[in-house]
C-alpha cells in the first residue's frame, strides 16, 4: 500500500508534466469520469456537502481498518477534484488520514480552489473527509 505522502508526490509529478491550464483541466475532467461513485440510494441529504455551488455527495465505510470513500457531483470539474482527493485518502487508515496534510493541492496549482470565496467547496470536502476519519477513529478507539 502506498502512503498518503507517496500518492501526493505521484500526483504532483503527474501535474508537473502539463504545460498549460487546459491540459490540466482536461486531465481533471478525465479523472472525474473515473470517480468511485456513491450508490444512487446513498445520495441523501446527510451525505450532501454544503458550501458547494455544485452538489457534492460523499460517503465512507470502514473496510479492514481502512476507509473506502465514494462520492459524486453534478459538475465535472468538481468530480475531478474529488477524484484527486479520493485517490489520496481512500484506502487509508483513519489515523493516517487525520495526520495528513493537503499541501499538495498548492503544488499542483489548484490552490485557487482552496480559497473560501471559491464556490466549489474544496475546503468543505476535505473537512468532510476528515470528519469521517475522525468518526471511524473514535469508533476504533472504543
Amino acid at each position: 500500500m502506498m502512503t498518503i505522502e507517496l500518492i501526493q508526490d505521484e500526483i504532483i509529478d503527474e501535474f508537473s508534466m502539463f504545460d498549460d491550464w487546459m491540459q490540466k483541466y482536461e486531465y481533471m475532467i478525465d479523472l472525474g469520469k473515473s470517480l468511485p461513485l456513491i450508490s444512487e440510494n446513498n445520495k441523501l441529504e446527510d451525505r450532501l456537502i454544503t458550501g458547494c455551488q455544485s452538489k457534492v455527495w460523499l460517503d465512507a465505510e470502514l473496510i479492514d481498518g481502512k476507509i473506502n470513500y465514494t462520492a459524486d457531483s453534478d459538475a465535472i470539474i468538481t468530480k475531478g477534484i474529488i477524484a484527486i482527493l479520493l485517490r489520496v485518502f481512500s484506502n487509508q487508515t483513519p489515523n493516517d488520514i487525520l495526520n495528513s496534510n493537503t499541501n499538495f493541492i498548492d503544488k499542483i496549482g489548484l490552490k485557487e480552489h482552496l480559497s473560501p470565496t471559491r464556490a466549489n467547496g474544496l475546503l468543505s470536502m476535505i473537512k468532510q473527509l476528515k470528519i469521517y476519519a475522525l468518526a471511524f477513529q473514535t469508533q476504533i478507539n472504543k
Binding site: Y25, E26, Q53, S54, A75, I76, I77, T78, A119
Partner: protein
Amino acid sequence: MEFDVQKIRQDFPILSKKVNGYPLVYFDNAATSQKPQVVIDSIVDYYSNYNANIHRGVHTLSQVATDAYELSRQKIKKHFNAAKDCEIIFTSGCTHGINIVASGFSSLLKKGDEIIVSAMEHHSNIVPWQMLCEKTGVLLKVIPMNEDGELIISEYENLLSNNTKIVFVNHVSNSLGTVNPIKEIIDKAHQKGAAVLIDGAQATSHLIPDFQELDVDFYVTSAHKMCGPTGVGILYGKEEWLKKLPPYQGGGEMIKEVTFKKTTYADLPHKFEAGTPNISAGIAFGIAIDYLNTIGLKKIATYENELLTYATDQLMKVEGMKIYGTSKNKVAVISFNIGSIHSYDIGTIIDKLGIAVRTGQHCTQPIMDFYKISGTVRASFAFYNTKQEIDIFIKAIKKAKMMLS
C-alpha cells in the same frame, strides 16, 4: 456627444488588465460594476485633502467634508427626482435599506395583515420580510411568474386585498434581467392602500426611475452597481412614511437629545443614519452619478440593448443553448445553460480565459426552483463592454463546451 466606447473604456483602469494571461472580459456587471478613474480619484482626494468626521465638527475640514457629503445627497435627490433631500437616506446598500423598512414595518403590522413579494426576488428582498412574518404572524403572498420570467399581473391583482399592507418587488430581476412594470404594481397597490418598496439594485445602472412620477413609497439602490464604490447606497422614502417608521439602529448622529431617562431622535434623514457613515463612498456616489449623466443613461441603455441583442443572437447559435429570462422588456443580462453542463464548470473554464461571469443561483433560489435547475451562467453587460468582447466570450463558451461534453 457621440457614444465612443473605446474612449469610455479608457476611463476604467481595470479594463486594460490581464487575468490569467488574457485581457479581462468583465461580464459580471450585475454583481458589481467597474469604477471610472474620477470615482477612484474622489476617494483618494477625500482621504488626502479633507478627511474629517461630518455633521458635528465646527472646524473647517469637518465643514468641507459635510458639504461634500450633503452635496452628494442633493445630487442623488435630483437624479431620481425625489421631492426633498431628507427623503434620501444613506445606507450601506440595498440590503440595509430593505432591512430598515422591513424592521420598521414589523412595529406597524399585526396578525391578519398581508404582505406581497414577487417570485423573482433576490434573497435580500425575501429574508428580511420572512423575519418580519415570524415576528408578527403576518401572511406573505407571492406574485407568480411565467416561463419567460415575467410577473403575472392578473395574479397580482388577485392577491391584493384590503389586508395588504406592503408590496416589495424588484425593478429589474438580477438573474433574469426582466424589467418589471413597477408603475402598474405601485398604482394597483395604492388602490388598496398598501405601500410599495422597489428594490432597484439592478435597475439604476440602466435607467433612471423618477421617484415622484412613480409615486413609489420606498426605493432602494446601491452605488457599487452604478460605477460607485461598495458600502454605500440609498433608501428613498416618502417623508410621511419615513416619519412613521421607527429608527432602525441607535447611536450617534441619529439623536436629538440623550439622557438616561429618555432619548429623542433626530429629524430626517439623520434618524436613520446612526454612526459615522462611509463618508468617502457617499461623496464618490455623487461623482459616479455625475459620470453616468455625462455619458447619458439613455445612450447607455441604447448601447447596452445593442450588446444584449448581439450576444443573444450569437449565443442562440450554440447548440444546446437555453436562455432563462426571455421577456421583451429586459436589461443586458443573459442567464443560460448549455445542455446538461453545470454552470460551475463553464464558469471555471472561461475564467481561465480571462472572462468573468457569475455562476450558480445568483441569490435567487426560488427562480432556480421554478425552472428546476441548479443554477445558470449569467453574463451581464455594461456600457463599457464591446461586441469584440462578446465574440471572445462566445469562442470561450464553445471551447468550454467542447472540453466539458
